[in-house]
Amino acid sequence: MAATERRTHSGFAGFGSIVLAACALPGVLASTAALAEEAPERGVIGFTLSSYREQQDGSSSSATASSSTSTSKTAAAATVSAASGGSSGGSTGGGSSGSTSSTSGASRTVDRVHVTSPSLYALVPLGRRWAIEGSGTVDRVSGASPTYYTDEASMASFRDTRRALDGKLTRYFDRQSVALGLSQSRESDYISRALSLESKFASADQNTTFNVGLGLTRDTINPSNGLVVDAHKRINEVQFGVTQALSVRDLVQLTLSHSAQSGYLNDPYKSYDHRPDSRSANVAMLRWNHWLGGATLGGAALKTSYRYYRDDWGVQSHTLEGALALPVSRDGRSTLTPELRWYTQSAANFYVPVNTGSSTYPTPADTSGYTTLDQRLAAWGAITLGVKLDVALDNDWSLSTKFSGYRQQASYRWIGEGSTGLAGLTAYFWQVGLRRAF
């Protein structure tokens, strides 16, 4: 349309005085400046505060390994925010042994990890072709994490602060953009640095958008227990996506990605943890956003997605997600979004199921090959229920709040064998964010 509009403007030579006078009336022709589709016109600055707290079910007979679940803090946060269960993030831990437990009525729970994260975000357009954005986050992590399945007596309490910075520079071309991103995350025992390169391009009719991405991550691990010193982990990832407008009300996106991890992939805080030094994973994700009909639902949007994950450790997972964005203001800019997510994964082929009925802390029968007792590599399922409220206060200010509850337990799984008897995990997450455009 920009081209036809320009033609209208430059084609005035052929028109007579009446046409020219009519076109000169105030506000009759839109200014061409508003027609260009380029870098974001407005900058954004935002502050977000989020909190995550998890509790595992207390066992009736404590200090046995009969029911246990383990989730390290990093992966736990990821499970709630991105449903990336089964990943093994950098774990921290160590320190004195012990955990707090509380009893409420009949059910006893054991506090695990608590994370509080203030975060700052800024986006600054640089001219009409460039934009730079960045964020800084401080995670205050505390609590306890089990070293042997989720055995309460094996809980090691810890406290750490993670400081993360990331930045992205984007160059906009006609119907295309290229972005370079850099990020760094620092904990006392874990440093992660990542570089990303991403490009998006749209078809001439803007109905199809392609994106390709490349990500390189280089981590250095120095666990507090000194198990390894300056251990390294590398992740190389490629991603390809296509987004297609099927109709004015249906947007479908397919994303395929492949990642290759290598180096030190063990969790140094888990007992009997010995994993391969490489891991290759493929992910397919299908998203479908459908805007519902007319005046009855007031223009609600149904957002659904399915994600399939598979790696060469034998872990497979399915994630189904649905969210309904309901406009709650007349202008449609404020929305209330209830969300539901269901996740299931199978165990890694070297995961050793809980040996029920045996003595305390049994050693896995065979420790000559690869072994892990990490619950994140067991078979389990999880359900997340959440609600999000986005409110446009005026043209400049917007407020976003979110609350979700998360329940993870082995019996929710649809695929995979074993690992029954693991204790369930309940987590709560809330977030409040304020943004201002300028």
Partner: protein
């Protein structure tokens, strides 16, 4: 595919019944109706005495499209509130109420620009286009089906005369009692342009605005193809005179078929020559495609008034046109 849409035009901003409609509206503006149509959304509302439509096909969430359509409707209603003859509190009614008084009425830049455009049309048409000619409607009652007496026409024709309007930079004065200003021929068209520009400024590129036949296109369909707009046949309301592809610009049609009195085998239409006070008879209908609806609407009205020279005017103005003369012969540009 999109079904052809009627290209229909009324020479005054308000069709018959507009006064009643305005009177029965309960307080605020009537709500905007949204209908999912093949490929997009059609928002409908009533304003300026007629049906109004906003079609938006941009691939954006419905709430965003609806919000923009509401903003466009609000712009149309703003213009109606300022320039409607049927609203006693409109700026236009205040100007008319002050006719014959010594003090001019203060006007803003927008009103001054519209009245100056009317002055230009008056000058270029040797007085055929006249913003004060709306007063002739007092003699012509098309709903009654009866012709006015020559004396009655002569009595109201005395109040017609742009020469007796004092237009300053920020004020206007109708120098004689009984004179009236009426933005027929440009007001509704201007509203269509303003609404469409507001939508374009919000980034919308695929759709159109149709105010009872005054039509302005935002841009082509989502796949880049043009819209097909039908132009009504002036003698067969069920038939189309032509179907016109449009990807941008505006279309307006003026015809003798909207309101008329048939008597003695002759059709007396609602487009009145300000010099005689009697209806024009050269053209059954004139459609014009121009960059803006205001230009297209002004030119169709001028063409209807001008008689045989109308085609020369349209060619000189460099616009595309389609006209049917009194004998039923069709004339096209190019």
């Amino acid at each position: 595919m999109h079904s052809p849409r009627r290209g229909r035009w009324a020479p005054t901003p308000s069709a018959p019944g507009a006064a009643e409609t305005a009177a029965t509206l309960p307080g605020g503006p009537a709500p905007l109706d949204a209908t999912a149509v093949d490929g997009g959304w059609l928002f409908t509302f009533r304003a300026l005495g007629g049906p109004c439509e906003v079609r938006l096909d941009d691939a954006e969430p419905f709430p965003a499209l609806r919000a923009q359509a509401e903003a466009a409707a609000a712009e149309v209603r703003r213009i109606e509130a300022r320039y409607s003859r049927y609203r006693a509190d409109s700026l236009l009614s205040r100007i008319n109420a002050a006719a014959g008084q010594a003090e001019p009425v203060a006007i803003d830049a927008e009103t001054a620009a519209l009245l100056n455009f009317g002055a230009l049309l008056h000058a270029q048409s040797c007085g055929l286009f006249d913003l004060t000619s709306g007063v002739l409607r007092q003699a012509w009652d098309f709903r009654s089906g009866r012709l006015p007496t020559p004396e009655r026409i002569e009595a109201v024709r005395r109040h017609v005369g742009w020469d007796r309007v004092e237009l300053g930079e920020d004020s206007v004065r109708l120098t004689e009692p009984g004179m009236e200003l009426d933005l027929g021929g440009i007001g509704k068209e201007y509203a269509a342009d303003r609404a469409a520009s507001a939508l374009q400024a919000a980034g919308l590129r695929h759709g159109w605005v149709n105010l009872a036949g005054d039509l302005r296109v935002l841009g082509p369909r989502l796949d880049g193809s043009p819209w097909q707009f039908g132009i009504q046949h002036p003698r067969d309301s069920a038939a189309l005179l032509a179907s016109l592809p449009l990807a941008d610009g505006a279309l307006a049609t003026s015809g003798d078929y909207e309101r008329f009195i048939e008597q003695g085998g002759r059709r007396y239409c609602h487009i009145l020559d300000p010099r005689s006070g009697w209806p024009v008879g050269q053209w059954r209908s004139v459609s014009v495609v121009a960059p803006t609806c205001t230009a297209a609407g002004a030119l169709t009205t001028l063409a209807m008034l001008m008689g045989p020279e109308a085609l020369d005017l349209l060619r000189a103005q460099g616009v595309a046109f389609l006209a049917m003369d009194a004998q039923g012969q069709v004339h096209r540009s190019g």
